[in-house]
């Protein structure tokens, strides 16, 4: 009611301009208001253009984003009077389909400084006229013009403040970006630009939701999300470059507004290396997100449990089972068994810490990475596939590593046995890493938002959990004596265990097929044959070792074959352009939600085992498909098989460092429901029904 009253008032006060049909429905009520009831000769006060915008409509900021037009004002002033430019309060992001606008909804005040000439005569009443043209948009856009005026008395001394508007105008200035002496640089990296900002205003601040609004419409792709990486002195935003970066060019500056947590600061970045302390702390934790307020103790506990569960992963179990079996025959040599257990534990913990160190270093270098990052690089996947194949061939008996299995016992106490146990631990971690067990998601998500020391602690507990069962077996003579005695059956057992390893190699090959082209697959298969040939030659040599002859030559051939096969697969980073058919984007989610549809987002990756299991046992079932159809659920898939800053940022905002993550957005707004990491059709169906009701 009040709104329409003010619209009518505004219409009466402001003569509709020629472009406007008389009596046309207006969507913005515009007026001029002042923070003082007049001003003295030579004095300066503030006048604001107040816009009351109809619900569902918006007007624009100084950079309107992908479409639209900023509000303009043209003054007609008596001689000697001056009016400054608008001070623009920090805008809102207004997504329109796949596009992004920057503007205002509801009510906004755009203040300007008004200065009277020293020659103004006290007692006069001066009327200042302004022609305002603004564009107001919802689904359609309508230009609205207003002829406004404000009458200010000239007073002998400073005029009293206007009790109604002094507060709101002061508030508008407070909401406007402040100069804060921030240091900022930008560096183009392919299709993105890293904007690094440091300064006292950012040090130790909660940078969750930080966003850069550029002044110029050509420097960034407004609709793309901005990944945030915190640092000790500031932050680094990964932006998608705009038209101004076409053809390898770059604009001289990247100027705009950095907004976070209700504050906004002016930023003017020049090209150059990032200032120190602009990154290294990972994405800031979203407020209230699960895992965000997880304490270090809880994170360590989850990490420990996660580590325990990793022992059961199909690619890890064969290695551990063989190692445990080899201990079995040495119940008497408990000291030796213990040493083996400790060496294995040291190997796996060291590897976990090395991976954590690598992850922290990569994050410090500005990469948007998360757990499982090692599997986003095709060469690493290919080398791992070859490693799995080599282990499988070894288990099949094609060749032996070090001492033979039957002789393993005699070597238990010697150095090479210990080194073997250490590397078994390392190998087990390397192959286990992608199997992010459900318990590890929140713990690692938390770890990566913390200081490096806290992150390393979490990874340490992960390693402890992982090593615990094996060390326990080595230390508990009771368990050891209960393990079956070694004998010919072990040879059969070992050969059977080769098959999970073959499966692991096949799975990694499938992951590679998602990431690379057919040529790369051909290279991998060639390399696999070379590895098999090398294994066979090695076995041949081992069996003939007693008779001597040709050993050095054979060793050299084996060595060269292995080098050749690894080189073949460790080709340079795959340069194929991003032409994926990934249907997920935050803008799309917003659009679907605006249409009132429930939205299900599946954050997944080809190399994520639990994701594939969930796809098969829950998401691909008839029950779920029917529930989705019945409630018209939009199913978006965020594929993290390859590195993706957008998805990494989204995962981080929900307190996760890895996939899977399942979000169910309800039809009536609010936060998304987070589904468990292990899905059943029932869980999904219930979540869908709850989302449609909520």
């Amino acid at each position: 009611m009040r709104f329409w009253a003010s619209v009518i008032l505004a219409l009466m006060m402001a003569l509709p301009a020629a472009a406007q049909a008389p009596g046309a429905t207006r969507h913005v009520a515009a007026e001029l208001v002042a923070d003082h009831q007049g001003l003295a000769p030579g004095g300066t006060i503030h006048v604001a253009l107040r816009q009351q915008i109809q619900k569902g409509w918006h007007t624009y900021w100084r950079n309107s984003g992908d479409s639209g037009e900023p509000t303009r004002i043209k003054w007609t002033l008596p001689a000697g009077w001056q009016v400054g430019e608008f001070t623009w309060p920090a805008p809102q992001r207004i997504p329109v389909g796949p596009l992004m606008n920057y503007g205002y909804e509801g009510e906004v005040l755009l203040p300007m400084a008004v200065t009277a000439p020293a020659t103004a005569r006290p007692g006069d009443k001066v009327t200042l006229h302004a022609a305002v043209s603004l564009l107001v948009c919802a689904e359609v856009c309508i230009p609205e013009d207003d002829a406004l005026s404000i009458t200010l008395p000239v007073t002998a001394g400073p005029a009293p403040v206007d009790s109604k508007w002094a507060g709101p105008i002061a508030h508008a200035f407070a909401a406007a970006p402040q100069p804060a002496g921030l240091t900022a640089t930008f560096q183009p990296h392919g299709p993105s630009v890293a904007l690094a900002i440091t300064g006292a205003a950012l040090k130790g601040a909660d940078l969750a939701g930080a966003y850069f609004y550029p002044f110029d419409a050509t420097v960034i792709d407004h609709a793309k999300p901005q990944a945030i990486e915190g640092g000790k002195q500031g932050l680094t935003l990964t932006l998608t470059s705009g038209y101004a970066f076409q053809g390898g060019k770059a604009p001289p500056t990247l100027a705009g507004v950095l907004a976070f947590g209700g504050k906004a600061y002016e930023v003017a970045a020049t090209a150059g290396a990032p200032p120190p302390g602009a990154s290294g702390l990972g994405p800031p934790a979203a407020k209230g997100a699960p895992g965000a307020d997880l304490g270090l103790a809880a994170a360590a506990l989850f990490a420990f449990l996660g580590g325990l569960i990793l022992n059961l992963m199909p690619c890890v179990f064969p290695i551990l089972a063989m190692k445990a079996a080899s201990l079995a025959g040495h119940g008497g040599e408990s000291m030796a068994a213990r040493r083996q257990g400790l060496a294995f534990g040291a190997g796996s913990i060291a590897t976990f810490l090395a991976l954590a160190g690598g992850l922290i270093a990569l994050k410090a270098a500005g990469s948007a990475v998360g757990w499982g990052f090692q599997l986003q690089s095709p060469p690493v996947v290919a080398v791992l596939a070859l490693l799995m194949l080599a282990v499988a061939l070894n288990l099949s008996g094609l060749f032996e590593v070090g001492t033979s299995l039957q002789g393993a016992g005699s070597g238990l106490a010697n150095k090479s046995g210990l080194a073997g146990a250490f590397f078994t631990g390392a190998l087990a971690v390397v192959v286990a890493a992608p199997c992010t067990a459900p318990f590890m998601g929140p713990a690692l998500g938390w770890a990566l938002t913390q200081t490096p020391a806290a992150a390393l602690t979490v990874f340490l507990f992960l390693g402890l959990g992982f090593a615990a069962p094996f060390v326990l077996v080595a230390y508990a003579p009771g368990v050891l004596s209960r393990l079956p005695r070694p004998g010919p059956w072990m040879e059969t057992f070992r050969k059977a265990l080769a098959f999970p390893m073959y499966a692991a190699a096949a799975w990694l090959t499938w992951v590679l097929a998602q990431q690379a082209g057919p040529e790369d697959l051909a290279k991998l298969f060639t390399a696999a044959i070379l590895v098999a040939l090398a294994g066979w030659l090695l076995g041949l040599r081992q069996r003939r070792a007693a008779t001597g002859g040709l050993t050095t030559v054979t060793e050299m051939i084996v060595f060269m074959l292995v080098v050749l096969s690894v080189t073949a697969v460790a080709w340079p980073e795959n340069k194929v352009a991003e032409l994926s058919t990934e249907p997920y984007s935050p803008a799309r989610v917003a659009e679907l939600r605006a249409e009132g549809r429930p939205v299900f987002v599946n954050y997944t990756a080809a190399w994520c085992v639990s994701c594939q299991v969930n796809d098969r046992v829950a998401l691909s079932t008839h029950a779920v498909a029917q529930a989705f159809a019945r409630h018209k659920v939009a199913y978006l898939k965020a594929d993290w098989t390859k590195r993706d800053a957008t998805i990494a940022a989204e995962l981080a905002s929900h307190g996760r460092a890895g996939v899977p993550l399942y979000l169910m957005y309800g039809t009536h707004g609010g936060e998304a429901a987070i589904l468990p990491s292990i899905l059943t059709p029932d869980i999904v169906v219930k979540a869908v029904e709850a989302a449609d009701k909520s």
């Binding site: 053809g247 352009a577 991003e578 984007s585 199913y635």
Partner: protein, 208 residues
């Protein structure tokens, strides 16, 4: 492989459209090919115009920026002078069915008659395929393709991002200048500018 495809199939079925994703096209790279029905029912493809300069112009029948250029007659004038030089001018509507400015063939023909468009054809891109391939964001968003099929200009029609018709006076006409550069055998002096106008109202198939 099968799992992956199955998940995609479900996603596609539920969205009832495949999410087409493409990056913004690059200047001096071959312009993305397309094929679409025009208002008269002819199928038009970019490759049909090989050897000719092609202008793509995005419009919306209810957008004040499109109206600014048509009500003043500047757009029609540019279309006529371009076509006299042998340039092919394709006007594109990417508004999705259900949007107020969606073009059925009849609506497109009626609009053409009303504004007296001098374009070669009006392409009906209701599924947004051409718009997404070119990263078209607003109406008007302009693209110029040279005789060799390379994209040589993209951006605004001029340097005045205002709906106000008085802003036309003294504007720097980027598209006219690009066409003049091509005619004179020069490289286009300003190949990329900021487009301005109303958001294109795409249908529900994801982003760019």
């Amino acid at each position: 492989m099968r799992l992956h495809r199955r998940a995609l199939l479900i996603a596609a079925a539920l969205l009832s459209v495949a999410g087409a994703a493409a990056a913004a096209p690059q200047i001096d790279a071959p312009a993305p090919d397309f094929q679409a029905m025009d208002a008269e029912g002819h199928v038009r493809a970019l490759k049909d115009f090989a050897g000719k300069v092609v202008v793509l112009e995005w419009i919306s029948s209810d957008c004040p920026y499109t109206a600014k250029h048509y009500n003043s007659g500047t757009m029609q004038k540019l279309q006529k002078s371009a076509r006299k030089q042998g340039v092919v001018w394709l006007t594109v509507s990417s508004a999705a069915p259900g949007r107020a400015d969606y073009f059925t063939p009849q609506a497109a023909l009626a609009w053409r008659g009303k504004v007296k468009s001098a374009a070669t054809a009006i392409l009906l891109d209701g599924d947004g395929k051409i718009g997404r391939a070119y990263g078209a964001k607003v109406t008007p968003h302009m693209f110029v393709i040279d005789a060799a099929g390379r994209l040589v200009y993209m951006g605004g029609i001029d340097d005045r991002p205002y709906a106000d018709p008085s802003s036309l006076k003294g504007a720097k006409p980027y598209v006219a200048l690009a066409l003049a550069d091509l005619k004179a055998g020069r490289a286009v002096a300003t190949p990329v500018t900021a487009p301005y106008g109303c958001s294109i109202r795409y249908g529900a198939a994801g982003g760019f």
